[in-house]
Amino acid sequence: MIEVSDVSHAYGDRTVLRSVSVTLTEDRVAIIGPNGSGKSTFARLLNGLVLPQRGDVRVDGLSTRTDAAAVRRRVGFVFTDPDAQIVMPTVAEDVAFGLRPLRLGRDMTRQRVRAALAAVGLQAFTDQPAHVLSSGEKQLLALCSVLVTEPRVLVCDEPTTLLDRRNSRRIMQLLAGLSQQVVLVTHDVDAVTDYERVLLFDEGRIVADGLPAGVVSRYLALTA
């Protein structure tokens, strides 16, 4: 369960979140809103990348302020640009990188990496250099590198923005099949139709919260 209580945040003079309070218990939560509405900052609050200037964020009772490491182990984060997330030169090495702190040993690590790559359909690229992958494959790799650590929650900040329709669909299908709680920030309103709950952000506030159909119509009216 994710609890966001009375959170406000500003970058310099620009306030991006204003007294946001929400509890997320659903397995599939989508966040939509215009550019600069505060949705990416909200997403970053959820695994402690951004600490709120006011208020509190808790994941399964753990505060992002005082239990940052435990929260990050629980909450995986996928960014828009996969190039910024891939740390190691080859595909398998990048997936293995996230497992190093767990000290699983070489054989167990290889086994986990192989299984994780197979789960996202990248097993054919195991020893390929990461930079030769297509954008869609890189995003799959970024996702795989997060999923291999088995987080309980996955936060994705516009993971399909840089992708074509086919790759976007591939990522969305993969997210749909995960056992984790998924919090998806997106501009793609078609992608959220199957989500259990959609939050609409505008000017740092949640202005609509509910089932996809109603919230998406409100968003379309807001941005018309």
Partner: protein
């Protein structure tokens, strides 16, 4: 950029530490080569090692990026010290590059970093974290194709706007993009728990 080529040869199976130690010894021997015959034998030996690892086709690609530097060096040596010295100096560099390339082609970066971490472990007493040093090395290796990609994109954007030949118009966006990438990478590392004490690589 050189990257690992999967394989099952004896060089692939050799531990990374042994390969690094071997290449250091081989480089020391290479520096001692002082006749064209010895250098030619050194080159032949390096090529044979490539063949034994099943990587013979990859050998020319190791020295090809240095062709202009080698050509300039050879010309300079021919003019100042004669043909024999030119062959020895250029040949030593070719052997060294081939051997270093062979190590990176047959060893995963993770295995090389583990060796670096082991070698650097005594520095922990001086407050230096070997895990952090090895992470920096990994990031530097990873940054090469990323920044090269930025350079190509900036170059293409310049051409599209008819701004060819302006070093400032080339350097500013390249530096800005690289810095933005560094920021984003830092954020991604934090998201993957790299700032957390439990996640420090050891």
């Amino acid at each position: 950029m050189n990257t690992f080529q999967p394989g099952t040869s004896w060089l692939h199976r050799l531990p990374a530490g042994a390969k690094l130690a071997g290449v250091l010894v081989a480089l020391a021997v290479t520096i001692a080569l002082d006749s064209p015959v010895q250098v030619t034998a050194g080159c032949a030996g390096a090529v044979l090692l490539f063949a034994s690892a099943g990587l013979l086709p990859a050998a020319p690609a190791q020295v090809w990026p240095m062709r202009w530097l080698l050509a300039a060096l050879t010309a300079f040596q021919v003019l100042t010290a004669g043909w024999a010295a030119a062959v020895v100096v250029t040949g030593r560099i070719v052997v060294a590059v081939l051997l270093a390339g062979l190590v990176t082609l047959t060893t995963r970066v993770v295995e090389l970093l583990e060796v670096f971490e082991r070698v650097l472990r005594p520095l922990r007493r001086l407050g230096i974290d070997p895990g952090r040093v090895s992470l920096v090395l990994a990031l530097a290796i990873r940054a090469v194709p990323v920044v090269a990609g930025f350079a190509t994109e900036v170059h293409d954007a310049q051409r599209a706007r008819g701004l060819r030949g302006s070093p400032r118009a080339y350097a500013v966006p390249l530096v800005v993009r690289s810095l933005r990438h560094a920021d984003a990478l830092g954020e991604a590392l934090a998201a993957r728990g790299l700032d957390d004490p439990v996640a420090v690589l050891e």
